[in-house]
């Protein structure tokens, strides 16, 4: 009967994207309540941090209507996380890359990480949260079976370029396939174009997501940089279809696709 005790799946439209909750633990009231709480949390994050909402705290900060000192401890913590990501990425992640305050590159991963934690603390041990293409995995997809995450091929819509396996892992991908050239090289102020996409794995989604953004902005030097980071691995696809991965990347062998 174990397969009829499968958990629950929920799809939430929030933060300009879609968050998928895939919970494989037995469906019990505590986990259902935690799912509601996690969804409310995501809407809270959207209200406070969205750069698309003129009344959000971040928008008001960007317009200098309020100062950092006026903000909640939570907002100050997020800004501190952003500064930390700027430092550890050598400036390739920047919440000021576009010239105005935009912590979006970190906030989504941080929000999903928080939602994952809410579920975990309520007893959900086997969960996969997908925040618009960036994931936080915990536990297993089934007893003895790790989660399997396909990475969308940036050059061949509908196809996968590799499959990542993991139990407790964050997986984040940055690329131009969905939103065009939207990642800015913070050092030049121009759109980054050295990679078609880059996938980063790491222990938590907050930094993994920001590192994916940083790696994409870096382009050619992303591989060496990711290899130098403790606990993080990467897979990159070049615009001509060639790909690379760091030695410890938890993905399956990529079928050879020679550039046409």
């Amino acid at each position: 009967m174990s397969d009829t005790a499968r958990g629950l799946r929920h799809v939430e439209h929030v933060m300009g994207t879609v968050i998928t909750f895939d919970i494989r633990d037995e469906r019990v009231p505590a986990i259902e309540a935690a799912l509601s709480e996690a969804v409310s949390w995501l809407h809270h994050v959207d209200e406070v941090y969205s750069t698309y909402r003129p009344d959000s705290t971040i928008s008001r900060l960007a317009r200098h209507e309020i100062e950092v000192a006026d903000c909640s401890a939570e907002v100050r913590e997020v800004l501190a996380l952003c500064r930390s990501a700027v430092r550890t990425s050598g400036g390739w992640f920047s919440h000021l890359a576009t010239g105005f305050l935009d912590p979006s590159g970190l906030v989504k991963g941080w929000a999903v990480e928080g939602a994952s934690r809410i579920l975990y603390e309520a007893g959900a041990r086997n969960t996969c949260l997908n925040g618009g293409g960036d994931l936080r995995l915990r536990g297993e997809a089934a007893p003895g079976a790790p989660w399997r995450v396909g990475v969308a091929h940036p050059l061949r819509p509908g196809e996968l370029c590799t499959v990542v396996q993991g139990r407790d892992l964050a997986v984040a991908t940055s690329g131009t396939a969905e939103r065009g050239a939207h990642i800015v090289n913070p050092h030049l102020g121009t759109p980054a174009n050295g990679l078609a996409s880059v996938t980063v794995t790491g222990p938590g989604l907050t930094m993994t997501d920001s590192y994916a953004t940083a790696a994409f902005a870096r382009g050619e030097s992303a591989r060496d940089w990711l290899a130098s980071l403790d606990g993080y691995e990467g897979f990159g696809m070049l615009p001509d279809g060639r790909s690379w991965c760091t030695d410890g990347f938890p993905g399956e062998t990529v079928p050879a696709h020679d550039p046409a």
Partner: protein, 147 residues
């Protein structure tokens, strides 16, 4: 390589079609993603399956979709969370050339779709999609099929 271009276009079309599949059985495990629910979410995971049917089992028929090559419609069969069959219900047949392309492309693309899904994945990572982009994403297909 016009042939290749057409094949690629057809691949995209088929994938899009697979992604727009909707369950047509009341007993199908998961319906379409729920609309935004504000701060009071109503989780819609698969309930205990009635009548002994397994989660992630059912036949999903796609809406007829107009492509630049004509109208296409497919149905997919999922058993125990795995895509087991793709049936093409309608393909472009406006002229001999269309039929010729469909004759060789559809079986091949069906096989590819099955091969891709037999890799069995739980989720998809990719460049951040918007709410709109999600509709055509592989993740959306997984969510709909509950696999």
């Amino acid at each position: 390589m016009r042939r290749a271009v057409l094949a690629a276009a057809s691949t995209s079309a088929l994938v899009v079609l697979l992604l727009t599949l909707k369950p047509h059985q009341p007993a199908a495990p998961v319906g379409a993603p729920p609309p935004p629910t504000g701060t009071s979410p109503a989780p819609t995971g698969p309930a205990s399956p009635p009548g002994g049917s397994q989660p992630g089992t059912g036949t999903y028929t796609g809406d007829p979709v107009s492509t630049q090559y004509g109208t296409v419609q497919v149905a997919a069969t999922v058993k125990a969370g795995k895509l087991t069959a793709v049936k093409v219900l309608q393909v472009p047949s406006g002229n001999g050339r269309d039929q010729q392309i469909a004759a060789y492309a559809v079986p091949r693309l069906t096989k590819e779709a099955l091969a891709r899904h037999s890799a069995h994945i739980d989720a998809v990572s990719g460049a951040s999609y918007t709410s709109q982009g999600y509709i055509q994403s592989l993740q959306s297909a997984l969510d709909r099929a509950g696999v």
